[in-house]
């Protein structure tokens, strides 16, 4: 028999108390692993979403830069327009590898939802847009033909809302022309899901915006200095240059603030675990006051008692930590669904990523925190004098 066996059997003495302590540590670990996984998953998914937009730079009409960012991420209203000639001029510059012009139009539909809603139309150039948005996959059909005038593609949610299938006909507001649905996109989890795509020229005509555009998405040649190119765009009148790197940095700095809050919650979970362990082990030490004294009378040194109590604490934390990790892993789908429900904007991809680092880090951290919580009870136990325990008999 060794000290480890003695410690582990000591934990069975008050089974219910041990269970609740382990349960508390498990909950703390669950919270910790989920929050760390969310930190990683959200940041990675957001980064992937922004990178996956396919544009390095977006040129829009002058306005609030945050509005411009919103325009790209969620679709916008109250849109401003740029002259088409200016846009075509930028698109044809030698530094540009690919460019695609877009015209966005938002129309309030009183019949949409319970209180009405905005339907967003995006006029795109079928020659350039699909190649810059390669992640857009089709559930049914395909993009409209290069010279199409009366064909549309629906985002996943737009198709569900309009209850349309490929081959159906639709009449757009302000137009008497029937448009044929030629494609329905697969779900992306982004603003693309709610969009109705039309050929660019048709959009300009239907919404009476001939010669005007909302955005130009640009991808530069690898050798081009992006900063210098952006500087040259700033010289153009009444345009706004939005660098995706800037957008990413801005969003990531907002996410960093949220991360600080998340880490504070994780820290509180740590403290709860630590004080839970401290309380349990201290109670157990006080209950065994005489017994610990007797162990010392039969030859246990203070360091033996210290070790015995710390092993008990470590076992509690390790078992609770392991269960917490398993629960966090098993319920990550449920946690993700809950987070998606509460978050106003969630990027595509997995929101909770629990990798080996998070598992190992959480396990070691929770065990260490438990150990810290166990130091005081262990110290108290190691300083029990056998004589005092015999006197208390």
């Amino acid at each position: 028999m060794n000290i480890f066996q003695v410690s582990s059997k000591n934990l069975l003495r008050r089974k219910l108390r041990t269970f609740f302590t382990v349960f508390g540590i498990m909950l703390s670990t669950w919270v910790l692993v989920t929050l760390l996984g969310f930190n990683k998953g959200y940041e990675q998914s957001l980064s992937n979403s922004i990178d996956g937009m396919g544009f390095q730079i977006v040129l829009t009409a002058k306005g609030c830069p945050y509005e411009a960012a919103t325009l790209m991420l969620k679709g916008g209203t109250g849109l401003r327009y740029m002259p088409e000639d200016l846009v075509r001029d930028v698109a044809s510059r030698p530094e540009v590898l690919q460019a695609t012009a877009m015209l966005m139009h938002a129309e309030f539909d009183p019949n949409k939802g319970e209180n009405g809603g905005t339907t967003v139309f995006l006029g795109v150039d079928p020659k350039t847009y699909p190649s810059m948005k390669p992640y857009l996959q089709f559930k049914q059909g395909a993009w409209f033909a290069d010279d199409a005038k009366d064909e549309i593609v629906l985002g996943y949610e737009a198709a569900e809302l309009e209850q349309r299938e490929v081959g159906d006909l639709m009449i757009l507001p302000g137009s008497e022309v029937e448009y044929k649905v030629v494609g329905i996109l697969s779900r992306t989890g982004t603003q693309d899901d709610g969009m109705i795509y039309l050929p660019l020229t048709a959009t300009q005509k239907v919404f009476k915006k001939e010669g005007e555009l909302t955005m130009l998405g640009i991808r530069l040649k690898p050798s081009v200095d992006q900063n210098a190119f952006e500087e040259s765009l700033y010289q153009l009148p009444d345009v706004q240059v939005v660098s995706m790197a800037q957008v990413k940095n801005t969003i990531m700095s907002l996410v960093s603030s949220a991360k600080a809050i998340v880490m504070s919650i994780a820290f509180i979970a740590f403290l709860i675990a630590m004080f839970g362990v401290l309380n349990t082990v201290l109670m157990s030490v006080f209950e065994r006051f005489q017994e610990i004294g007797i162990l010392k009378s039969m030859g246990a040194l203070p360091k033996d008692i210290f070790k015995m109590i710390l092993i008990e604490t470590t076992l509690l934390c390790a078992i609770g930590g392991l269960f917490g990790i398993v629960i966090a892993y098993g319920f990550s789908g449920l946690s993700e669904a809950a987070i998606r429900y509460f978050l106003p904007f969630a990027p595509t991809g997995s929101l909770i990523i629990i990798d080996t680092f998070i598992v190992v880090f959480s396990f070691i951290s929770i065990t260490l925190i438990g150990l810290i919580g166990g130091i005081y009870p262990a110290w108290r136990a190691s300083h029990i004098r056998p004589l005092d325990s015999i006197r208390s008999e």
Binding site: V6, K9, L295, D304, I390
Partner: protein
């Protein structure tokens, strides 16, 4: 005569608030190897204080204590808790009125508990079973303390005190929690341990029947040794 313990003018005082209590007052005596010493006296007479000092659980305030011809206390010598522990490990086994068995450990595991802290003194199986046989608890080796009678629990406590083969067994009111039948069993057992194994026994008791087994009796009155 083989002197094993020699006490000269042992005095133990302690404070209780403003009051100074003299628990032992210039107590001198000697214990030889193989003795059974009964320590008797009224409650509060200093019996337990005396065996605590003899058993190196406590330092005396003054006087000299020699164990096996070595000065443990006295001549300006006071030992730290770890140093006292080392002497206790090598020399003494303790049995108390309460059994203090670990409820989640089996009989065998409880008996082996001291060897957890003294791995060098882990007994071989033969000596372990021999001891359990002698104490009549071999068939109970896998039982938990809650499955034992009071007498059996005290036998397990005695086995635990003897597992590292101490030279002296200190038993402080070992029959205090037992009925007369179980008390007699424990008395006979202590006698056998002394006679068959040559273990020196120091027994604190209120029970005159148990006290009778001693070949020496130390009677304390208000911390002083009578006779």
């Amino acid at each position: 005569m083989n002197r094993f313990i020699e006490a000269h003018d042992l005095t133990k005082t302690y404070s209780r608030g403003a009051e100074q209590i003299t628990a032992l007052n210039n107590v001198s005596f000697a214990v030889d190897k193989g003795d059974i010493v009964s320590v008797v006296g009224a409650s509060g007479s200093g019996k337990t204080t005396l065996v605590n000092v003899l058993g190196c659980l406590d330092n005396p305030s003054s006087g000299t204590l020699m164990i096996n011809h070595k000065v443990i206390f006295g001549e300006g010598k006071l030992l730290s808790e770890p140093a006292l522990t080392k002497i206790r490990r090598a020399t003494f086994g303790y049995v108390f009125q309460k059994f203090f068995l670990i409820p989640t450990l089996s009989v065998k595991e409880n008996i082996l508990l001291p060897s957890v802290f003294q791995p060098d003194h882990t007994p071989d199986d033969e000596s372990l079973y021999q001891l359990m046989d002698m104490l009549g608890i071999a068939r109970r080796e896998n039982h938990l303390p809650s499955q034992l009678s009071g007498g059996e629990m005290q036998r397990v406590a005695i086995a635990r005190a003897l597992i590292h083969k101490p030279e002296v067994l200190i038993a402080d009111e070992p029959t205090g929690n037992l009925d007369s039948k179980r008390s007699n069993e424990i008395k006979d057992l202590l006698l056998r341990l002394n006679q068959e194994n040559g273990i020196t026994v120091i027994i604190v008791t209120h029970n005159p029947d148990i006290a009778k087994i001693g070949n020496k009796t130390l009677e304390l009155v208000d911390g002083k040794l009578m006779g």
